[in-house]
């Protein structure tokens, strides 16, 4: 079984900030950053998370690599809760799950030479002797397409794309199985973006890496991810195989995100159409009752403010939480709790199955 087991499982994870009352001004106010999100990462595959700023996608990424602890719920790596395992197991999880940061200008220590930046994880995890570290740093830089001479230089001497390569080399230093990349290309120029995306695909094949890629850019995710999850105000509203999510979209919010992508294509005339989605995302301090998207949703009705929609299966591993989906679900009363798990696909293809039900039980 362990061969089929998802490499990373996120189960009912909740992250709230400010509930401890550390701030006098905001005492009692709680930011609901991530609210009951479950998902799985399968070995060697790429999952994309998309959403607007403040939807909780970066927080979820930090929870997965263990930079934040969930308020409730669990994150497991290879079947072991990353917070509850033995010291050695926790240490291993830290090694196997690495984060690649968004801003290549802010995430590299400007006073450290590139060689030390790349080798630092090896020092922290006591991986190799000092002499071998230089060799390892040089070979890591080679893997991301930078010459070994880069080791003796400082981050300011590199362009944005090159810095993102350095960030990638550092994330690879401990031979992780999973890399969580938070907006890996959004700070880069268009012509450099494709270089980094190609490099990430090459490295994935070479090292069987599992990626969790967080981005506000659906086009990038459509291209690089096997499965995509859509977050809105801390909730997972839709999840599905990349092609299915784009071609057979279920949730009105996902539809709005797709419709607002500016397309670099010849248009017969300047397009005049209605605004895809009105207003802005409400505050995570006081999320709307029921469906959190209802305040901006063109399809919302009374039930949307009263009952929170559960994730339902729409076939082929595609799930969404919406009372008025854009197409009909396959199994009406079967909430699927952990998107990305193989059982979702099985269940969806056989809606009458007795097993259709709580997949986490």
């Amino acid at each position: 079984m362990s061969g089929d087991r998802p490499l990373v499982q996120v189960d009912h994870v909740v992250k709230e900030y400010g509930s401890s009352g550390w701030s006098l001004r905001n005492r009692g106010e709680v930011v609901h950053a991530v609210s009951d999100v479950s998902l799985s990462l399968r070995r060697g595959k790429t999952v994309g998370l998309v959403g607007e700023s403040g939807c909780g996608k970066s927080t979820l990424g930090r929870l997965v690599v263990g930079l934040e602890n969930p308020t409730s719920g669990t994150v497991s790596f290879d079947g072991v809760d990353v917070r509850k395992g033995s010291r050695e197991q926790r240490r291993r999880a830290r090694r196997e799950l690495q984060l690649m940061f968004q801003d290549p200008y802010a995430s590299l220590d400007p006073r450290m030479k590139v060689g030390s930046i790349v080798a630092e994880p090896l020092v922290v995890q006591h991986q190799v002797s000092r002499g071998d570290r230089r060799e390892r740093a040089a070979s890591l830089l080679g893997e991301v397409g930078l010459p070994a001479s880069s080791m003796a230089r400082y981050p300011y001497e590199f362009s944005g794309g090159q810095r993102q390569r350095i960030g990638l080399a550092r994330a690879l230093a401990l031979n992780p199985q999973v890399i969580v990349a938070d907006e890996p290309v959004s700070a880069l120029d268009v012509s450099v973006r494709s270089q980094i995306l190609n490099l990430m695909l090459d490295l994935q094949l070479k090292h069987s890496l599992t990626y969790l890629i967080i981005s506000h850019d659906l086009t990038t995710l459509r291209y690089i991810a096997d499965e995509v999850g859509v977050l809105y105000l801390g909730k997972l509203v839709e999840w599905g195989p990349s092609d299915s999510l784009f071609r057979e979209t279920v949730h009105p919010y996902t539809k709005a995100l797709i419709d607002t992508i500016p397309v670099a294509k010849p248009a017969p005339e300047r397009v005049r159409r209605g605004i895809a989605v009105q207003g802005e995302m409400p505050s995570a301090l006081a999320p709307p009752s029921g469906c959190r998207f209802r305040t901006r949703c063109p399809r919302a009705e009374k039930v949307c403010s009263e009952v929170e929609p559960e994730l339902r299966a729409f076939g082929g591993g595609h799930v969404a939480a919406c009372h008025f989906p854009l197409r009909e679900p396959v199994a009406l009363a079967a909430p699927v709790l952990r998107p990305g798990d193989d059982s979702v696909a099985e269940q969806a293809s056989d809606p009458k199955s007795d097993k259709a039900g709580n997949t986490t039980s």
Binding site: E52, S53, S159, G161, D189, V190, S191, V192, R193, S194, Q195, L197, N198, L201, H216, D217, L218, T219, T220, R222, Y223, I224, A225, D226, S242, D243, F246, A256, L257, I258, D259, T260, I261, P262, V263, A264, K265, P266, A267, P268, E269, R270, V271, R272, I275, A276, V277, Q278, E280
Partner: protein, 335 residues
């Protein structure tokens, strides 16, 4: 009809310390009333510098060393600052990328939006405030009178950008310069702001110079497009002609390196090798040649001349052949 903005052979040098960088090297553009021109390119291509030259906001050390900028028929290059400001003040509005740094954090937004009217002596205080509130409503702030009493930090990014737009429009400009106005915003908010630009342009008959790196934004919201590379104009055409039959190899490479919703998953993306050149260093005659997949010896020997046909111009020795070219060739039509 007179042109709203006419830039000819503009050269901007930026001096820092002992070195001088030619950030804009001889570009020419025109923008007619009521039209939108997209100025597109990567970081450092000179698109923002061009916008700043029009606005008279070049950074310290920056100077227009050649060429002309005419706004609504008035030449502003060579004028004294006060004279140029008098022309720009009422004619040109500006929206920058980051509304948080462009707004005064200590002043209520209504007062900020009203201020230009007072500075230019176009209204008294109470009339200016009323105009500001009306305009805040027009750019999409709900309950504008109440919002006018708030400070910038109390608003979301999208709302702040709407305030910036109101501030740009308060004096009723004929020309709006928008430098990456939606780059810091989410796609849904970006969509709202771009549609706001479109409707404001129609209701006010404004010209817009839209500076952006995003080909998608350009495709949907401009009438004409100028593609810049390393301080030079690579290609200039109506938006429809450009996307229907781009000729310059840089435009081609740029468009092909962007994944679209139709790009097969996992397929390697076309890339542009290397990095944009350092403008302070040695530049090839065709500045894109060192990164161009189609470059031949001539590109490294001779500067490509600007060639123009109808509403489409470009500077490339070995331009991409369009579908129309290929059809003509296959028909064997003697030219």
């Amino acid at each position: 009809m007179a042109t709203m903005l006419e830039i000819s052979d503009l050269v901007v040098d930026i001096r820092s310390g002992r070195s001088t960088v030619r950030a804009v090297d001889g570009i020419s553009l025109t923008l007619d009333p009521g039209r939108t021109l997209g100025l597109v390119g990567e970081s450092g291509c000179g698109k923002s510098t061009t916008g700043l030259a029009v606005l008279g906001l070049l950074p310290a050390g920056g100077k227009v060393t050649r060429g002309s900028i005419r706004i609504d028929g008035h030449e502003i290059v060579g004028l004294r600052e006060a004279e140029a400001r008098a022309i720009r003040g009422r004619t040109v509005g500006v929206v920058f990328q980051d509304p948080m740094t462009a707004l005064n954090p200590t002043q209520r937004i209504g007062a900020q939006v009203a201020e230009p009217l007072l500075i230019h002596g176009m209204a008294n205080r109470s009339a200016a405030m009323k105009q500001a509130v009306d305009l805040l409503g027009e750019v999409g702030l709900s309950r504008p009178a109440a919002q006018a009493e708030r400070f910038p930090h109390e608003l979301s990014g999208g709302m702040r950008q709407r305030v910036m737009i109101a501030l740009a429009l308060i004096c009723g400009p004929k020309l709006l310069v928008a430098d990456e106005p939606t780059t810091a915003l989410d796609v849904t908010t970006q969509d709202q702001i771009l549609q706001l630009f479109d409707s404001l342009q129609q209701s006010r008959d404004m010209s817009i110079l839209l500076i952006t790196h995003d080909m998608g934004v350009v495709a949907g919201h401009t009438d004409e497009v100028a593609v810049m590379y390393a301080g030079r104009l690579a290609e200039l055409a109506t938006t429809h002609r450009l996307f229907g039959g781009y000729r310059h190899r840089y435009t081609e490479a740029l468009l092909e390196s962007i994944p679209t919703l139709d790009t097969p998953r996992g397929q390697r993306l076309a890339t542009i090798a290397g990095l944009p050149p350092n403008l302070g260093g040695q530049l090839a005659p065709c500045r894109f040649a060192p990164r161009c997949a189609h470059a031949e010896q001539v590109c490294f020997d001779v500067e490509p001349q600007w060639s123009e046909q109808g509403e489409h111009g470009y500077a490339c020795h070995l331009p991409r052949r369009t579908d129309a070219d290929l059809m003509t060739e296959s028909a064997g039509a003697p030219s």
